[in-house]
């Protein structure tokens, strides 16, 4: 498990879930910024090492946020999360290679997914 202290963003429109994941990541020693929507994250332009993003959001979806950031030339390592089993099934069909966790998830799986997303990400610097 990576022991490096990371700066992470949590994007989820459900306040309870957002606060819980924030607390969990803080317990693992990371610094966490919460966002209620993809638009909120884009507006604040906080630099993060990795984003944990819910797929279903009231505005832009998690998938759309990933695409925008990539097309804008500022991609961010990302772990998608969803409470919707259909989305997980679709993702498997479409074989999109973004890590996707179905809610609820174990802390170990989340931390591992974040570590993988961060370490496997091509860095410009």
């Amino acid at each position: 498990m990576n022991s490096r202290r990371l700066t992470l963003g949590v994007v989820d429109d459900d306040e309870d879930v957002r606060r819980a994941i924030e607390r969990l990541l803080r317990a693992f020693g990371h610094s966490v910024h919460p966002f209620a929507s993809a638009e909120d994250f884009q507006a604040q332009r906080v630099p993060v090492d990795c984003l944990i993003v819910d797929v279903r959001l009231s505005g832009l979806s998690g998938f759309e946020l990933e695409e925008r950031l990539r097309l804008d030339g500022s991609p961010v390592p990302m772990v998608l999360i969803t409470a919707d089993a259909d989305i997980v099934a679709q993702q498997n069909l479409n074989s999109i290679h973004l890590p996707l966790l179905s809610k609820p998830f174990d802390d170990e799986r989340l931390i591992t997914a974040i570590d993988r997303a961060v370490s496997g990400f091509p860095r410009s610097s």
Binding site: V17, R19, I21, R23, L24, R26, R56, S58, I81, D107
Partner: protein
């Protein structure tokens, strides 16, 4: 025997005239009796069979020689004999008609009867008995059919809602698990951050309650309408369906507009079944708009009270119905969906018909389709001033 004084007959001509009138009246009575499908039993003051009429002897459960001159308690099974005697007693007091429905086992089959009892000729009573077995069986069949439909529709509703429910439950479950695991991780810190542990526990408690509330809502929803027909506010049903589908609408990028009648139409309905019809129409409308640009995915729901009828329309801006399917769209197993069974609209139509209403479909002039459900309205929710 008659207690009335005899008519005064003054002249032979009067006598002849009265006799003819009497004969004519008797013939008329005989003709009426012959035409009546009902059986008649004349009962004495102490409930003995004095006389009877039956169009044909097959109508009688026991032959006349068995029951004539006998007391009703010797002929009928005890509880029924008592019920009939009570009706006779009431008819003697009120004059009648006292109406009693009962069933009797005849040749291993239940037959249903309706007795209308009138007082006649002093303390006697006349019991006019009609065989209503056919009508009763049709009513029972319709009732069984309605119950089956109600059951089927509940099962189907749960299926439709299951993914929405899973989503609603997974959110608090996620909050509970992550808070619990955060609290456990915080306990390993040195020193332990008790404030974080406590806040995590508070959030666990809150989210556990949130999950229970989802459970309660589903239970209420299914219990509330369990075959209960009651005055139902159409606007409220629309609002409840939109609440249930809210997260689904967000995910599908469908913008919902409502135009609800200011005086909410009230219909006599099984609330859950009505919700189901509407839920089905809303989900269909969303499916029809899945392949168009998300800015154009507009769903409109209107309610109106129109000449004693409640009208609910679900209007989409989707691809519309192929003209060849317009007529067949309510037939079972007709579907344009890849994974559809084609039962939703068939069940919906059955439900609406059971509510004495109609469900129709048409393509809009400016694109998309409209489904309109029309139901007999009882009264508006808030009394409007009378004209």
């Amino acid at each position: 025997m008659s207690t009335k004084p005899p008519n005064i007959i003054d002249t032979p001509a009067d006598y002849q005239h009265a006799l003819e009138a009497l004969r004519a009246s008797e013939e008329r009575n005989r003709a009426i009796l012959k035409a009546l499908p009902d059986m008649m039993f004349l009962m004495s003051a102490d409930d003995v069979f004095l006389d009877y009429h039956a169009k044909d002897a097959g109508q009688l459960i026991v032959p006349p020689e068995v029951f004539l001159g006998r007391n009703i308690t010797d002929i009928m099974p005890p509880p029924l004999a008592e019920q009939l005697r009570d009706a006779f007693k009431r008819a003697r007091l009120s004059g009648g008609p006292e109406i009693l429905e009962y069933s009797l086992g005849v040749d291993d089959q239940a037959r249903f009867y309706e007795a209308r009892v009138v007082g006649c000729d002093g303390e006697k009573v006349l019991s006019i008995v009609r065989d209503i077995t056919d009508r009763k069986r049709a009513e029972l069949d319709a009732d069984i059919h309605r119950r089956e439909l109600a059951h089927l529709s509940r099962v189907w509703l749960l299926g439709e809602l299951s993914s929405a429910l899973a989503h609603e439950l997974n959110q608090p479950l996620t909050a509970i698990l992550s808070n619990a695991q955060a609290a456990r991780a915080f306990l390993n810190h040195d020193p332990v951050d008790l404030a974080e542990v406590r806040a995590g526990l508070d959030d666990i408690i809150m989210n556990d309650k949130r999950a229970s509330a989802v459970n309660d809502r589903v239970r209420d929803l299914l219990k509330k309408g369990s075959n209960e027909w009651q005055p139902t506010n159409v606007n409220e049903v629309v609002a409840e369906v939109l609440e249930l589908t809210h997260s689904d609408m967000l995910a599908r990028r469908v913008a919902v507009t409502t135009q609800l009648a200011t005086a909410a139409p009230i219909v006599h309905a099984d609330r859950v079944q009505l919700m189901q019809v509407l839920l089905n129409l809303v989900l269909n409308a969303c499916d029809a708009m899945a392949d168009i640009a998300s800015v154009d995915r507009r769903l409109t729901i209107t309610t109106a009270l129109d000449d004693g009828f409640a009208r609910i329309a679900v209007i989409d801006r989707g691809v519309g119905l192929p003209p060849t399917q317009l007529a067949a769209v309510f037939e079972p197993f007709v579907t344009s969906k890849k994974h559809g069974l084609g039962l939703g609209l068939a069940i919906s139509r059955s439900i609406v018909i059971a509510h004495r209403g109609s469900l129709s479909a048409e393509n809009n002039a400016d694109g998309g389709a409209s489904f309109t459900c029309v139901l007999p309205a009882t009264a508006p929710a808030s009394p409007s001033p009378s004209p």
